[in-house]
């Protein structure tokens, strides 16, 4: 079988100084005269570090790794958006890359016009778009609004339109980066089906995602990238299992979060620690389905922060997002956070998760800004409990992920004789 993608000793270096600071011509000129005396200290990071792998034609490869591990940089190099610092990349055939859905959409243009614009940006020919425009409109479900400027579209409609265009390209090689993380469940399913069709159509697909169940469903093989290097390459279930194992070991009552690597955000405020407490406020390390959970998050702010949102997402062991809890969702408004340390407590009155292992992601943000992002940083093992006095009957991961408190009533009710 022929190789569709060949990556050899790929290295990509970014200059952090160049990213943070916009160069001015004035500085470039003065630095010539001052003989580089005040040249900025440029720190470099290796987003990709001597990475090698190959993908055969028709293969569907999953790519996993923490935030900042280099997954997106890899897709950008493969799709020629950015150039490697050293090493070699060869991609055979026509490439389409979905790093963002709806790239180049313009508010003032109609849905139909944007299909043409976006399609041509993605590398489709006008003839191809002409031939598929009805299918695209149908897939996106925007028939009624197709001649309306998309500034009137909801964000969901835009997303559907964007994916619809992408799903109707016929590339030999497709790169997909986390576009499925948004959108409602129905649409996600549609996208996954579309990707499945591409796979069965014999296309080579590279799929970057944090959704472990999607990766496992779609990709027989997965590579795990860690700090720009290839950490593991093999059957998806094995790679995913060892990836998730690194997040945490056995259940504990508290976790230091001060020096977790691979976290996102600008660091203006960061989580330093989390403690789990029981209802009485003493440290707890066992959590039972249906019982209260209390978490105390410690943070350290480098500066005064306005209107921060603290949040937590609960994922299943396969990476499916189960619930998101945040001060913003709860309407708990925090006007400002002073520089320094502090804690914020979270109460979950009834932890209605079925016994299983879950992973927590934590973040601190405000509108348009990420301060801290910790993916899957804590493992949470939920145990059975004597809910409803049935001795934990029905409390098993095989029944699903959540327990829904419920009541029954039969009429007419006949008492046992």
């Amino acid at each position: 079988m022929r190789e569709a993608i060949l990556v050899e000793h790929l290295t990509k270096q970014y200059r952090l100084g160049a990213l943070k600071h916009e160069t001015m011509l004035r500085e470039a000129l003065t630095s010539v005269f001052t003989l580089r005396r005040q040249r900025r200290q440029a720190t470099t990071i290796l987003a990709l570090n001597d990475l090698s792998f190959s993908v055969n034609e028709g293969e569907v490869l999953g790519i996993i790794g923490r935030n900042g591990a280099g997954k997106s940089t890899l897709l950008k190099v493969l799709s020629k958006i950015t150039y490697p610092t050293s090493g070699r990349v060869r991609v055979r055939g026509r490439v389409a890359s979905l790093i963002e859905v709806g790239t180049g959409f313009h508010d003032e243009l109609t849905g139909r016009e944007n299909i043409y614009l976006n399609g041509s940006i993605l590398g489709m020919r006008k003839k191809e778009i002409d031939a598929r425009i009805e299918q695209i409109i149908d897939f996106a479900g925007v028939e009624k609004f197709v001649d309306t400027p998309i500034k009137r579209y909801s964000s969901g409609m835009r997303l559907r339109l964007g994916f619809a265009v992408a799903a109707h390209m016929e590339p030999d090689v497709l790169f997909v980066d986390e576009v499925l993380a948004v959108g409602d469940a129905d649409f996600q399913k549609k996208c996954l089906n579309a990707m499945d069709d591409m796979r069965s159509g014999g296309r080579t697909v590279l799929f970057v995602s944090h959704n472990m169940s999607a990766i496992e469903n779609l990709c027989p093989r997965t590579i795990w990238i860690d700090a720009g290097k290839l950490r593991l390459d093999g059957p998806s279930d094995e790679v995913i299992a060892s990836y998730l194992r690194t997040f945490s070991d056995a259940q504990r009552a508290g976790y230091d979060l001060g020096d977790v690597d691979g976290r996102g955000g600008n660091g203006a405020v960061r989580f330093t620690r989390v403690d789990f407490l029981d209802a009485e406020g003493t440290p707890a390390s066992i959590f039972r389905c249906g019982e209260p959970l209390r978490a105390r998050f410690h943070y350290r702010a480098q500066e005064r922060i306005k209107d921060p949102h603290f949040g937590m997402t609960i994922h299943s062991d396969m990476g499916t997002r189960i619930a998101t809890i945040s001060t913003w969702h709860s309407g708990y408004y925090i006007p400002t956070l002073d520089a320094g340390e502090g804690t914020i407590d979270l109460w979950i009155d009834d932890l209605f998760l079925l016994p299983n292992r879950y992973y927590l992601s934590l973040w601190i943000s405000s509108t348009g800004q990420w301060y801290d992002q910790l993916e899957h940083c804590i493992a949470l093992d939920v145990e059975e409990s004597n809910l409803n006095g049935t001795g934990g009957r029905g409390m098993s991961a095989r029944w699903g992920l959540v327990y829904l408190p419920s009541r029954w009533n039969l009429e007419p009710r006949v008492e046992a004789r």
């Binding site: 970014y14 160049a18 990213l19 916009e22 160069t23 001015m24 011509l25 004035r26 470039a28 950008k76 799709s79 020629k80 958006i81 950015t82 150039y83 490439v95 890359s97 790093i99 963002e100 790239t103 180049g104 313009h106 003032e108 243009l109 016009e113 043409y116 614009l117 041509s120 940006i121 993605l122 590398g123 020919r125 006008k126």
Partner: protein, 268 residues
């Protein structure tokens, strides 16, 4: 350039040709958005050179009494203001285009030169509308509408080449040095006085003419005016110099751009 660079240059060009549909889609997008509010959009194309013409006529025609080569000053200046307006629209738009489309550059691959080049081309529709007004003005001033006017659209070719070259250089520099954007308006304004828009080129002292003619805008704008004025004929020598320099600038711009573009996605 050297022998090693030649296949690369060919490849660069063939990529551009391969993506020609995207090029036209981006031109179409720019034009469409500009004319979306139809009434205002089309009238802007006419109003801008027209008001400039009115102001110039008062100031330079009446007050300063600049020589207008034997025709009314309004028509003398408007004939130059139409191509001039294209230039002063196209160069800043093209020069800032990479920054304006930074989202595209960091998310999708395509030959980057498409962006400044398509921006430069999108001003031609405005040029077309403004040209129609010129014909109206010629009738109003009872000037002969001759077959020589057929050359009018043809002169757009060197003008587009020159504007694209300047736009490409500015756009690539703009990505690297963010203060370049402040120099673009200054450059455009200086060109207004260095090109024969307000005055006839013949009124320049001969010793300056030799240097000024190296500015392609001189030969091009002079040619545009010459086909309108019955008192003039096209100075083909001057236009030839302008065309050759424009082409050389475009080649230079392409070489510089193709070297700079590798870093665009990391910088924008």
């Amino acid at each position: 350039m050297n022998a090693l660079a030649r296949p690369q240059a060919l490849e660069w060009l063939s990529e551009f040709v391969r993506y020609r549909e995207l090029f036209f889609f981006l031109v179409w997008r720019d034009v469409k958005i500009r004319y979306k509010q139809t009434l205002l959009g089309a009238s802007w194309a006419i109003l801008q050179p027209f008001f400039m013409m009115v102001v110039f006529s008062l100031l330079f025609g009446r007050v300063a009494k600049i020589d207008s080569e034997g025709v009314p000053y309004p028509i003398f200046s408007y004939a130059a203001l139409v191509p001039w307006t294209y230039f002063q629209y196209a160069v800043p738009l093209s020069g800032n285009s990479l920054i304006a489309n930074s989202k595209l550059i960091s998310k999708v691959y395509f030959p980057r030169a498409i962006i400044p080049a398509s921006s430069a081309l999108s001003g031609t529709v405005d040029f077309g509308f403004a040209s129609l007004v010129l014909i109206g003005m010629m009738l109003y001033y009872h000037m002969p509408v001759t077959a020589g006017l057929l050359l009018w659209p043809l002169f757009m070719i060197p003008l587009i080449i020159f504007s694209t070259a300047i736009g490409m250089i500015f756009s690539a520099l703009n990505v690297k040095y963010r203060d370049i954007k402040y120099t673009i308006p200054f450059f455009v304004q200086a060109m207004l006085f260095l090109a024969p828009v307000i005055y006839p080129f013949s009124s320049m002292p001969a010793k300056y003419q030799a240097v000024l003619r190296l500015n392609p805008l001189v030969g091009i704008i002079d040619a545009f005016r010459a086909v309108v004025l019955p008192t003039r004929s096209v100075d083909w020598h001057l236009l030839g110099i302008a065309t050759v320099i424009s082409l050389a600038l475009l080649a230079l711009a392409s070489v510089y751009f193709s070297r700079a573009e590798r870093a665009f996605a990391d910088l924008v």
